[in-house]
Amino acid sequence: MKALQQSAYGPPLEVVALIDVDAPTPGPTEIVVEVEAAAMHLADLKFINGDPGFRWFEMPRTPGHEGLGRVVALGDQAKGFEIGDRAFLPVGAGTFCQKVAAKADDCTPAPEGDEIQLVLMSLNAMTAFILVNDISAPAKDEWIIQNGANSSCGRFVIAIAKKRGAKTVNIVRRPELIEELKAAGADAVIVDAGDPDATAALVKEATGGADIRCGFDCVASTGTVTIARCLRESGTVINYGFMTGKSSEMAFQDLFLKSITLQGMNMSSDRTAMERKAVLQDLANMTVAGELEAKIAGTYTLEQAQEAFAHQARTGANRQGKIIILPNG
């Protein structure tokens, strides 16, 4: 079978190659999944480049954190799946290849439906779900705020909050996204004014001066300051990403005069593995029902992986959504 192999940390062109390897055979409790779709994330590029904080792996390795596909082989003691079933692979399975073996217990049954959309449930949609339902848990009609609102996760936040009856105010950098995100269910969309106070004033106007208790930050740097500035006293900024690649900044006035807390999002949350599987299935069902929809920038085969990495490396208007790898064409 075909697989991408990363041999060292460095630019994808130099360190990632398409190779032929033997297809995996299932261990006793494993299943083998023929990968229909694998999602690419900014983090995948960071793990290939070996950015600071992204040097976790032994080499060589197959990149790809997220994938789903059809069960094509079963171990003797593998439970819960039959040949031909659809399964979500566990996060971090190394999915940029044609077939992956994984413990059946770590896989989650996946519904029929568009694999290109469904493949984004385990990371971006799960993150959005945890941010909205576990960490902030807004009441009906309560406002939450986020930046990076046009990211895949940001769009899932909009949809999941809407389903819950909460309202979102969304900070973006490009005015052409306003209508697009409103169409996706955003209650208010603000173009970052370049200054935390000015942006906070726009947010106040757009929300009728609502008290905002929780904000999600995936931008870091001064993006964190802006979210903090928009919150009420004793509010919480939850950082879950760092698009700028810089540290989060917190102005003392927000920390001190408003007692704002900055916390990271702990992906492990308090849910058991079983509960997380149930959440994943709920999210998948929402996708099948058309309640969650990611913007897809492009799909690529394994042979086109270098084009896919180059596309992933572009930002904003030059990328326009998620990159999906289709390992079996």
Partner: protein, 327 residues
């Protein structure tokens, strides 16, 4: 009586002036307090300079805290007698000989050195509540703080010692190492990029459960880098005026929280009798000689310009708190 007042924003030494005026007689429910001493805080200087968020309506009398004795009693006030020592309400404008205020909310002050006592209402509760309300600290646990030679920092060393909590103290000047070790600091280190490694070596790899930051900028991240995953950094001061920096690794991967700490808001979470208990406890520690500030100098109210000039110097040029005395 004399009162120090500023009527325009500017350098403290230029704008602060002494005026002579009468003390208003206490009305019903009020008392007059003859002030004995009041400290100069950086916040007083920020107010006179009109720093953002420190702009008071003008004219204004500085002085967030102090200590004095009841000198006149209005109708209906039964809980105080002439000569009782009290702490006036916070931010009352303490730089004056005498002040007339509502009797309600005054706190009793113990006997002892007035200059030392005048600092009791603000900094000691800050250090006390930091150790009390965060990190779930028990005997033998470690905390790390920067600005360890600040007034709060020094109280924190003393208060931690009393509870058997161990402190790593980060300073900017090596000459403070011996001084803070003598005060009770378990480890004292000079700040720097390799802080985490040096802390690890000096504490034999101890788990550090709470970080306390009054410096901000990258110093916040350096404190965070020394902590156990999942713990908290409290930001309570703003010595550099830079934003607190927390790296994505720290917040996202290591699950470190950055929390703004403000003593008044922390007190607001307590019932009045619990606040009173904290003050009684701190007053008792003071009486027992267990809480002490480093006093850089005491100045008569007449010399308030010299006093604010001294308070405006930094570090080795100041060497502690500057106190105004009204005797």
């Amino acid at each position: 009586m004399r009162v120090a007042r500023y009527s325009r924003i500017g350098e403290p030494v230029d704008v602060i002036e002494i005026f002579e005026e009468d003390t208003p007689a206490p009305g019903p429910g009020e008392v007059s307090i003859r002030m004995e001493a009041a400290p100069i805080h950086l916040a007083d200087l920020y107010c006179m300079r009109g720093k953002e968020h420190f702009d008071l309506p003008l004219p204004a009398v500085p002085g967030f805290e102090g200590v004095g004795r009841i000198s006149a009693i209005g109708d209906g006030v039964t809980e105080w007698s002439m000569g009782d020592r009290v702490f006036p309400h916070l931010a009352c404008g303490a730089w004056r000989d005498e002040i007339t205020v509502l009797a309600e909310g005054l706190l009793p002050a113990p006997e002892g050195d007035a200059a030392q006592l005048s600092l009791l209402p603000i900094n000691p509760p800050t250090s006390y509540l930091i150790l009390e309300d965060f990190g779930d600290l028990k005997e033998g646990d470690w905390v790390i703080q920067n600005a360890a030679n600040s007034n709060c920092g020094r109280y924190l060393i003393e208060l931690a010692k009393l509870r058997g909590i161990k402190t790593v103290n980060v300073v900017r000047r090596p000459e403070l190492i011996d001084e803070l070790t003598e005060l009770g600091g378990d480890v004292v280190l000079v700040d720097g990029d390799d802080l985490a490694e040096r802390v690890k070596a000096a504490t034999q790899g101890a788990v550090i459960k709470l970080g306390v930051d009054a410096v901000n900028g990258m110093a916040t991240e350096r404190i965070a880098s020394c902590l156990q995953d999942g713990s908290e950094v409290l930001a309570y001061g703003m010595l550099t005026g830079e934003p607190c920096m927390i790296s994505p690794d720290t917040s996202f991967l290591r699950d470190i929280k950055l929390i703004g700490f403000y003593t008044i808001r922390q007190f607001a979470k307590r019932k009045p009798e619990e606040v009173r208990k904290v003050y009684d406890h701190l007053a008792r520690l003071f009486e027992e000689g267990k809480l002490s500030a480093k006093i850089a100098g005491t100045y008569s109210l007449d010399n308030v310009k010299d006093a604010v000039a001294h308070a405006g110097r930094r570090g080795a040029e100041r060497e502690g708190k500057v106190i105004l005395t009204m005797a």
